[in-house]
Every structure is written in C-alpha cells, then in structure tokens.
Amino acid sequence: MAPQIAKKGALLQGTLDMLILRTLERGEAHGHDIAHHIHRTSRDVLRLEHGSLYPALHRLERKGLVSAKWELHKERKREFKYYKLTSTGRRQLRSEASRWQELAEAIANIMRPEGVDER
C-alpha cells in the first residue's frame, strides 16, 4: 500500500512533507491549523484532502522530523495533538528547500519562452 502511494503521487508526497515542515517552522500547530495555513498561504491553490494530511504527519513523526504531544487548548477547552519541528526536521527542511529551489530553477529554465536571450 505505501509503495503504491509513493508511485502515484511521488512528487506531491515529497513536496507535501516539505510544506508541512515549513509550516511548522513558524511554530507548533495542530493538524487543522496546518491544513488551514497551507490552504490560505497558497491562496487556495493547494487544497489538501485533509485526510491525506494526517498520514503525512504520522510519517514525519515516524521519521523523527516532528514530535507530537496532546495539549489542552486554552480557549477551546479541549485537547489537540500539537506537532512541533525537531532539530532533525529543521535540517531536513533546509536541505529539501534548497533542493526544491534548484529543481524550480531548472524547470523554469526549460520552460522559458523561446527566443529570449541567453544571458
């Protein structure tokens, strides 16, 4: 099962992990918050099936890139599971971000309209 998902949306899965990590870099958050944030910040472009968010979070927890804890939310008076970025996660985010940057530039170079000057 897991390998099949990897084959289907390999690019998306890896990217999703990175997006979650980036969101958590701002501070700890629970699942709903993260989904909300990604939806908002991407200006409605990336709309996760929220149900695919949690497997991703669990994956990150398994890999040790995030840590999780049930905490009481003061206003809501209920417990939420908060996720926090670990130092390993931080390092992973750095490397993934730079890789993404390279990838994006490479694709942009290929996709540049024809006839523009090579400078």
């Binding site: 099962m1 709903h32 695919s52 599971k81």
Partner: protein, 882 residues
Amino acid sequence: MASLLRRLVARYRNRRHAADLKEELRIHEEMAREEAERRGVMDASSEARRSLGNTLQAQEDARAVWIAPRLDGVWQDVRLAFRQLRRAPVFAATAITMSALGIGVLAMVFSVVNLLFLVPLPFPDSTRILTLVTPDGGGIDGVSFHAAQTRLGDVAAVAAQRRIPGWNLAVGNQAEYIGGLRVSAHFFDVLGIQPAIGRSFSATEDTAGGPDAVILSFDIWQRLLQGRTDVIGQVVSLGGSPHEVVGIMPEGFRSVPPADAFVPLRLSPLDNTLNYLLLVRFHADVNEQQSDTLLNVLHADLLSAHPESTHPRIRSLRWSRLQDTIGREPLLLSLILTVAVSFVVIVAYTNIAGLQLLRTMARHHEIAARMAIGGSRFRIVQQLLTESLVLGGVGGIVGMLLAAGSMPVLNRMLPPELLVGRTLTLDWRVVAFGIVLTACVSMFFGLAPALTVRRVDLRHALATNQRTGGTKAGGWWRRGLLVSQLAATMALLVIAGTLVDYVRQMYGAPLGFDPRGVVIAKMSLQGRSFEDPTQVQAFADHALSQLQNLPGVQSVALANHVPIERGLNLPLQPPSGSRVDQIRAVDWRCVTPDYFPALGIAVRKGRPLTSADRGTTPVAVVNESFARAYFGSEDPIGNVIALAPSLSDPPREIVGVVADVRSRPGTGWTRGFTALGSDPPPTVYVPFHQMPKTALSLAQRTFPMVWVLSTNSEATGTIERQIAQALRALDRETPLMQIQPMSAVIASDISTPRAMMLAVVAFGTVALLIACIGIYGLVAYSASQRSRETAVRVALGANRLALIRAFMVETSLIALVGVAIGLVSMLALSGVLKATLGSLASIDPGTVVAITGLLLVVLATAGYIPARRAAGVDPLASLRQD
C-alpha cells in the same frame, strides 16, 4: 537500523496511534463543520465530511506508515501457514509426525552421547582427574604406581584403585553381595570428595599388615546398619574377614566403577600384575604442558624399572580423562544408532520436502494469479519457506517433548556404570541444537519447493488452467529427493537386515551344551573359612551331596564359571611342540566332574574329568578350539601344559578334548560383543579338587562360584526355591547371590544386540513406509500431470496396460538408481559394522538380494496403484475438467 528499532517500538504503540488518529480526524471534522457553519453553508456536517476526504483510506495509509511491513509480514505468513496446514490435516499430521519422530529420536541419542562425554562426572573439577592408560584401556602395575608416586607426589595427588567384582558383606545376621573397590590412601583426595562421616584411610592402613579398615557407601550404611550414628568403629565382615568401619561416604557419591565398600589397596612395589588404575589430580598451578613433560619423565622412570618386553606397552601409556574411560563400548553402539537415526531423519525430511513440492506445484495456478496482481516473488518464496519452518518447528517441538518424556525410561535402561550418579536429562544444549537443526533442515528441504516458484511462467500457468502446474526444475528436484530418500531407505534396510541376520545367527548358533532344565546359582566363597583349598573342597563335597539329594535334580556340579560367561584369564606358557610360541591368556575353568554331563557337553577325544582326578596327578581337559589353536590337527592328548610360573600351578597332562562351548571373548583370541556372536575361545578345564591355592584365591577374589544343577523338573520356580533354601542352609554368612535358569543367561547375552536390532528394524520399516508414500505421491502426481494426454490416448483406444507401463518407467528408473546408491554406500560401511560387531556381522549377499528384491517389489506396488487408477480414469471426465 535505528529506523527498524523505531518501527519495532512503534508496533507496540500502533493501537495508541490509531486511537490518536481517530480522535484527530474527529476533531478535524468538527472544526471543519464549525467553519462551514460560519460560512453559512447549508449542510455543514456533510460539507465537513466531504472536505475531509476518504477517512478510511487515510486511516489505512496512516496505519501503513506505522506498521513495519517486513516484520508484520513474517507474522502474517506464520498465521497463514497455520491456516493452510489446518486445511490439509492429513499432510500436516504426516509431516509433523515424521519430523517429530526424526528429531525426537535424534535428541534422545544426542542426550546419551552428551551424558557420556560432555556432562562432567559428579566430582569437583572432574575434568582434572586423569588416568594413565594404554589405548585399549589397560592399567598399570605396582611398580609403576610407586614410581608415579615418587615422581609426581609433589605436584599432584596420586592414587590407584582396583575393582573387586563382588564381596560378601555381613553385618550381624544380614548378608549382601556388594561391589567393592580397593583404593590407595590418597584416593579421596584425587576425587575431591572426602567421607561425610569419619575419615579416609591412613598411611598405616594402606600398608601390608596394617589394620583392616573399610569405608562404606551411604546406601549400605542406611540399609545394613540402619543409619546408626555410632557406626564408626563398628566391625563388619567383608569376604569373611572382619573390617573396622572408619568412614561413610556422602549420599549420592558414586565411584567409577560404582562400589559400596572401599578398602585399602596396599599395593606393593613388587606387584607386577597390570590390574590397577592410576588416578592423578594435578595441583591447580600445573598446566597441560607441565603435565605432559612430567609424563615423559614418568615414561623414562617406568622404562628403566621394567623388562624390555614391556617397553612398547609402557610407551603407549597416555594421560586420559577419567570420564573418557567410561564410555568406550557404548560409543560404538551409539554410533550405529546415530547413523541409523540420521538415515531416518533424512528419509523423513526428504519426504516432507517431496510432499511440499507436490503441494507447491498444485498451487502454481494460485501463485501465478498472485504474482499477476502484483505480489512479489520474494514474498511468495518467503511465505513458502515460512510454511516449511512452521512445519519443522511444530515437528521439532513435538519431537523434543517426545524426547523429554522418554528420559525417565532411558535412565532406567542405562547401566549405573555409565551413569555414575548423573541423570540423563534433556540438556538445554541438546534442545538448542535440536531447534537449530530443525530450522536448518526444514529451510533446506523447504528450498526445493520454494525455488520452483521462481521459474513459474505466469502466462502459461494462468492460460492452461492446469490445477497441477509443473516445471522442469521442479521435476528434477523431485527426482533428486526421491533418489536420496530411496538410497537412505536402502542403506537403513541393509543395516537392519544385517542385524537381523546377526541376531538370528546368534539364536541359531550351536551352543555346545544343552541348557534345557539347567539352573545356576552363584555364591561367593570368601573369607577365612574358605582360604585353604582343602576347606573349599570339603565344603564343595558336602554341598554337592546335599544338592544331589534334592528331588528333581539330576546332576550337580560346582565351577567357577558357566558357559556364555567369561572364564578366568590366565597366562599359559606355550607347550613344547605347539603352534603358539608366546605366553597367551587362555580361558581357565575349574570344574567338578559332573560339570560336563550336567551341561551336556560332548566329549570329542579321550576322557572327561572324573572323581578319580583328585589325586596328585595333575590333569586337564581342553576344548576343540584350544586343540586347534595349539596343536592344529594333531592329537593334543598326552601333551603337557603349564601356566606361567608365577601362578605356581603344576604342569598338567591333557587327557581329553571336549566340544566348544560359546563364551564371551576376553582373552584376545576372539572378538565380539556377545558370547553367541563370537567364536569360542581356547579353554582349559581343570579338576576343582586339583586347584592350587594361588589360583583359588585369585578365582575367589574376582568371581563367585557357580553351582550348576541339571534338573528334569518342569516347575522351575519350585525347584529354584528348593535349591535356594538348601544353599542358604549350607552357610549363613555366605549369601546366595543369584539363581536363574541357564536360558536366562543366554537371553541376557543377546539382549543388547537384540534391542539394537529391533530399534534399527523399526527405523527401517518406518523409512520404507515413508519411501512408499513418496513413490505413491510421485507416480500419482506425474500421472495427474499427464491426465489430459492419458485421456486422449485412452479415447483413441490405447491399451491400458501400456499406459501403466509408461507411468512406471520413470518410477522404476528412479527406484533403481536410489537403491543402487544405497547399496554402494552400504558396502562402504560394511567394514565399520564388522569391526564393531564381530565377524558374524558381515553383509550377507543373500540378505542384500532379498532386501533389494523386497524394496523393489514394495516400491513397484506403491507405484502401480496410482498408475492403475490414472489409467482407469474416464477420458471424457478428465478432458472436460480442462
């Protein structure tokens, strides 16, 4: 590695995570609903649920993250294997039984071997107790002992011992025949166990002329002395002479060999008989190198103290652990058993493998389908291997339970000389070894079916819809397995057949005497009242006349040995004109004149011993074997023979030759385990009343006297009781050791080889059964594989007989090859068998032919039945199936 560890840890937290996940999704849905409500959506809850997406899928995926696929897969496979086996109970039961039997018996045999050689003797640091022996277990003499004491006394505790086969121990009016050991003063220091009560022997007691002391065993103290606390200082009668009790050994103490009474050895430095066992325990700071150096020095000492002729023997003396001297004879027997058992294990496991192979091939369709929808070949192979492992594992556990349950039984069967106070238990090492062996063997034999999976042609398997797929490789594996199975079965059957022959020959061996109605009673004539030959003879005469008068008794004789059992080994000087030119030991027996008629031993030449032979003319009667060995075809009568001078027996004239009588070999002329299985050794019979003092005391010290009574009574029980009563009335202090019919003596001679034979025959039968199942399966399988072809041929009018023949050709070829291989390997092993069991255990060509024939016939039948069934199948039905 770290992630694997994390996965392991995570497995156990799986449930908590699943609960967490559920909770998280619920919260998420709730929040989404609230949001939708705020936005003013109509059906907020469904909108929320929709936005959540596929919850179930999410749960599955999340679970998939936590579940470590590889680990859980193995557990899944195990559960699947169990389920599959439950669906095929016959196969499972057969396979488990076979492997259980194989492993169980192997474990039993290994436990015995373990006990003999690995479990240490019950002495402190017992591996440090060394003896000095020749390669065939021979001992040393008094000269050597004193030399060893001088040379090694500073760095080791040195002692010697000598066995007393039987002694009359009398306390008050109770008497018992017990085993004894003569030991030197430092004996208990070497063993490392001191008497629990009292003390060990002092130096004065261990010197000639010193006070007679005895140390008793715990059991004897309890039994004959009622465990009284004032036992030290008590006087008991040992062999008729009084001994003062100076010590009691602790409970559970066992010497090697076991003994109930220990007396001082008093080994003189002038004693040059080789009957003594040297025991040495080096001090803790002496290492192996140093002890070897000391051995060389000791060799030099011994060589200089002994005549030239004994030098080769002295040079062959080596240090040996006391433990290793115990298990020599049984080692050979257990080797044979181990080999036989190994064959059974091989046969059993090849059969399991063969059956599995068939099952795997039958499942090729299923396997192909699985692979077509994305199952990995590796996983399927893994699953098959797991199945083999489960089978083997369950079989192994059952086998271990079998072995464990048999321990008490085996314990009772093993003689105490081997046990030496230890108990046969299923050692954890044997269990661990059994488990590892089972795992390896089942994996190995499970590989065969598993590997055939790799070559499954998906398209072909799916397209033809054959229920029984097959591959070329699978076919060769099958044939190979079957061949090895047959070879092992053949070898096992030949061993079994040889043993059956051996035992049969023993039963049919001409005894040389007539045991019908003969009763023997053993009595040890020891002590002061029997020291003088005239006293013994007077006692014998009185007793003989008493016994003769018993109703039903035809003739009575007194001897120091009976047939079947070993005689006294005495060195004989080569008579002049004989074909033997060196001093050799012969079987020496002192008998009263009625011995020969009582036992029905025929006289071949000259005359037997008569009551007139009490006088001063020393005579002797020899057996045919002696006559042949010493004088060839010449008449031995009239020749004069004499024992070695140290025994001070006068030269005797041979007056008659009697028939050979079966006896256990001990003099070195013949080899073998049993009397019935060996040729009769050269024997000399001497009149009881002419026995000189030295020989008499020698005889008394080592063997009891035997009353031989030939009776014509059917009621052996009654007459035995009467004889026992009469004998007991003769002398109160002399206990009756044993009374039994001669037939019982013969039976006990055979008992070990007979038991072994029965075991191996049982193994052989089991193996044959298993091989038959294998052949049956093979033919049934290949027939079903070609069922379509067969159906077509039958429909076209083919002769059924021809079809059957076609099926069986392959089978017969395999059978022949397997049998041939088995035969060849057996011929190689025949030498070993002969060396172990003696000349009778040769592989008789007739037996081999018979067994080969039997095997081929049985196999042919096993193959014929399924072939006939396949050929008789309705062609339309089988064609329609496809």
